[in-house]
């Protein structure tokens, strides 16, 4: 079907180390210097969120603790995230992109798709990409990479191929040379778990996937397997949807019950499952919700929706479940229920999540601080090998202690 339509031209614009780039724009004196964005850098236990290319060259990576990064790169400038600044820069970026076409789909704060098929002017797509990239660089002082392809999947893969300030074209005829040699976990849409499943089928590269039997893949991985197979073969007819972001303003889960239920306990079981599913969806989309709503549909199809807005955003299934049960207990009139649903509204990017601490539970949050501090102190004494979670870390620490008697003086 996709083939019968005229060929599309899709851009995927991906900002290069976005947070760091925005910071540099505000601090021109940092330009060309290694910079990292990290939580609480003054306390040393912060974790690096993103690093400039100058810092990456020295081995500084995301999720690395600040002290370790400083060891690799002593002149590293470390800055706390200023999300409001990044949000603003993101708005400017998408405003600029929308001057070319209304078909701009924002995927996240620092990446988006454009469908430029219908842009008249007769400009060559590469020239257009160059113009956009240059304008983003000169007007917003932000580096980006652009992927040009006949669909979203290939454009996304292309933008990843050359960074920073790259422009990469990925045509269908380039698949065998540019896409198929890539390892399967490099494929957009293949997470850790899917990669494991595919490797079990001896699929190690995107090429392996493209040549695998589609039916068999579908039977193993479901509909999603079929989609991945199509994408590996360069087929993806998802449109660039300017409304896609708005869709994320609410995520919901509901279920029509095989039999009407009439007790709180039965409802509890249903809400428990729905909460877990909803929580997973929120995590997948990297968002949290400031409002939880429930739907109760009675046996006579009368439908009731009730919601509650919270001061702190939720995303954990336990919190969603509690809120749903509270709403259910407040609003259920005791009649048999045919359908139950929960929806998460007033969504916010998980990065901007704030939590109003609670007098009766703050100790839980406060715990995070000294625990991280202790790990850090251990690390400083024993080196990075100790920083492992759970029993493994514990065991290796004991081992270390036993073997190196020379180190006793450090205890």
């Amino acid at each position: 079907m996709a083939e019968s339509k005229p060929a599309r031209i899709i851009f995927h614009i991906d900002m290069n180390s976005f947070y760091a780039s925005v910071e540099m724009r505000h601090h021109p004196e940092w330009r060309g210097k290694p910079l990292a964005i990290a939580g609480r850098p003054e306390e040393r236990r912060g974790i690096i969120v993103t690093a400039s290319y100058e810092a990456r060259k020295k081995g500084v990576k995301a999720t690395m603790p600040v002290w370790q990064a400083k060891r690799l790169c002593p002149e590293l400038i470390v800055q706390t995230p200023n999300f409001d600044l990044y949000k603003k820069a993101s708005q400017q970026l998408f405003q600029l992109l929308r001057t070319y076409t209304p078909y701009v789909e924002k995927v996240s704060i620092d990446e988006g798709y454009m469908d430029v098929t219908t842009i008249k002017a007769g400009m060559h797509p590469v020239r257009l990409a160059q113009t956009i990239q240059t304008r983003v660089k000169t007007e917003l002082e932000l580096p980006s990479s652009i992927g040009i392809a006949p669909n979203k999947f290939l454009a996304k893969m292309a933008s990843d191929m050359k960074k920073p300030m790259g422009i990469t074209i990925l045509r269908k005829r380039d698949l065998a040379t540019k896409l198929w040699p890539l390892a399967i976990q490099e494929m957009h849409g293949v997470g850790k778990k899917t990669a494991e499943k595919l490797k079990a089928l001896k699929i190690y590269t995107i090429g392996d996937l493209a040549h695998f039997d589609k039916k068999r893949l579908e039977s193993m991985l479901g509909v999603y397997g079929g989609k991945l197979h199509e994408r590996a073969n360069g087929i993806d007819d998802r449109p660039v949807d300017p409304e896609a972001e708005a869709v994320h303003k609410s995520i919901s889960q509901s279920t029509t019950l095989p039999e009407d239920i009439a007790s709180v306990n039965e409802a509890k079981d249903v809400f428990l499952t729905l909460s877990q599913r909803l929580s997973k969806k929120l995590k997948d989309h990297n968002v949290c919700a400031y409002q939880i709503a429930i739907t109760i549909r009675y046996h006579d199809w009368q439908t009731v929706n009730r919601s509650k807005t919270m001061k702190s955003a939720v995303y954990l299934s336990q919190d969603i479940f509690e809120m749903a049960m509270f709403l259910f207990n407040e609003n259920w009139d005791g009649r048999p229920v045919r359908l139950l649903g929960i929806s998460a509204n007033a969504l916010e990017d998980a990065a901007f999540r704030t939590k109003q601490l609670d007098l009766f539970t703050y100790a839980e949050d406060a715990k995070d601080e000294p625990l991280l501090e202790t790990i850090q102190q251990l690390e400083e004494k024993f080196g990075t090998s100790v920083v492992q979670k759970g029993m493994r870390g514990f065991a290796s620490q004991k081992e270390h202690k036993g073997r190196s008697s020379n180190d006793k003086s450090t205890f």
Partner: protein, 395 residues
């Protein structure tokens, strides 16, 4: 014919008749109206009960949680307020009665009830006839024994209410937190309110007898707010307080204010108030209040109602607030003294202002115990008041 029967009934069956000073009646009606709710499901409670006895006129309003009774004595300081012609009682639609009384033309009002509960309200040339309801259907007030009485200064009671009740919860998630906890112990009264995001605690020294039976009450925040509004300067300086297991009564000469108590155990909060101070700031209450007030101009909606506070050196703080859509505000606030560790903390501007607005002392001590732990606000010259706010975790 019908009219003749009607007027005969009025003549013969007079159930109650009083002549009352209008200003007194208006004031007392306003007081009891505070308890009347239009949302009540008990129809008799949409009315005000009016009872005339030889001693005076009593008005009662109630929403079954709060009941307010206001009394107008027949004679006060040698001035006659009321003429009781026939003692009796009636319940009249509160909304209509309150509006009517307010607008009557003359200085005196005659209220006359016949045996069919038809009530004539007459003042000057104006006459209203209202259908009354049977006073026997009106719920009876709880009888509270006078021996468990405590006296509390009215200005102090008003201050306690102002400085604590703002912190009660407005959410029914944990119903007990919609009340304030009053604990009588070792000749002190300790009042605590918390919605779990902030807490207020006020202690007062009191003359409580050792064998006193009232020790621990949870009074609904809504009741205390209404009580605070009704206590005015009309009366004597002391309020009598009487409590049972499920009711509390606050009493002045002309007002009796009953409230239902909340059932259940109020959570222990003393242990949750941290005492390991890491950073201490002493500054002018007004300076901080005004800075937060300005900072919150950009952070109006509840979700983003955040300000950040940062210590700069030993004598100044930074207050910062930003809203992605609007912009940002930055302000330096001078402090008398800052000691201890450096600090950065985020909190709700609203919670901070709610607390600061209720601290009368010119200077204030803020004790921080960590970025994810509660911080404490105390007036410099008043050890009896403590306010606590939980910060907001931002990453």
């Amino acid at each position: 014919m019908a009219d003749a029967i009607h007027s005969m009934a009025v003549e013969e069956g007079l159930a109650m008749k009083v002549i009352v000073a209008k200003d007194k009646l208006v004031a007392c009606t306003n007081d009891v109206m505070r308890a009347v709710s239009s949302k009540t499901t008990i129809s008799i409670l949409t009315g005000i009960k009016i009872t005339a006895t030889s001693g005076g006129l009593t008005l009662t309003g109630s929403d079954s949680d709060i009941t307010i009774q206001a009394f107008i004595p027949t004679e006060e300081n040698g001035i006659e307020n009321i003429q009781i012609i026939k003692p009796g009682s009636i319940v009249l639609q509160a909304r209509y009665f309150a509006d009517i009384v307010k607008k009557l033309p003359d200085d005196t009002v005659t209220i006359e009830v016949d045996s069919r509960l038809m009530t004539r309200i007459q003042s000057g040339h104006s006459e209203f006839n209202l259908n009354g309801m049977d006073a026997d259907e009106y719920p009876r007030l709880p009888v509270l024994r006078e021996e468990n009485t405590l006296s509390i200064r009215k200005d102090l009671l008003k201050q306690i209410i102002r400085q604590t009740v703002y912190a009660v919860s407005t959410s029914e998630n944990r119903p007990i937190l919609t009340g304030a906890n009053w604990v009588f112990e070792n000749k002190t009264l300790k009042c605590v309110a918390t919605d779990s995001h902030r807490l207020a605690r006020r202690t007062v020294t009191m003359d409580v007898e050792e064998n006193h039976t009232i020790t621990n009450l949870v009074i609904p925040g809504k009741s205390l707010n209404e009580l605070g509004k009704i206590l005015d300067d009309r009366d004597q300086d002391v309020v009598e307080m009487i409590a049972t297991d499920n009711q509390v009564l606050f009493k002045t000469d002309h007002i009796q204010f009953y409230s239902r108590l909340l059932e259940g155990k109020y959570p222990e909060t003393e242990g949750l108030i941290p005492n390991d101070v890491k950073t201490e700031v002493v500054l002018k209450t007004k300076d901080l209040l005004q800075a937060i007030d300005r900072a919150s101009l950009l952070a109006r909606d509840e979700r983003n109602n955040l300000v950040k506070l940062k210590t700069v050196d030993q004598s100044s703080l930074e207050i910062l607030s930003q809203s992605p859509e609007v912009g940002r505000v930055y302000e330096n606030v001078p402090a008398n003294k800052i000691s201890g560790e450096e600090l950065r903390i985020s909190f709700s501007a609203k919670y901070m202002m709610d607390a600061l607005n209720r601290i009368d002392s010119e200077e204030l001590i803020i004790q921080f115990t960590g970025a994810m732990k509660p911080f404490i606000l105390k007036p410099v010259d008043d050890p009896d008041l403590l306010m606590l706010i939980l910060p907001v975790r931002t990453n």
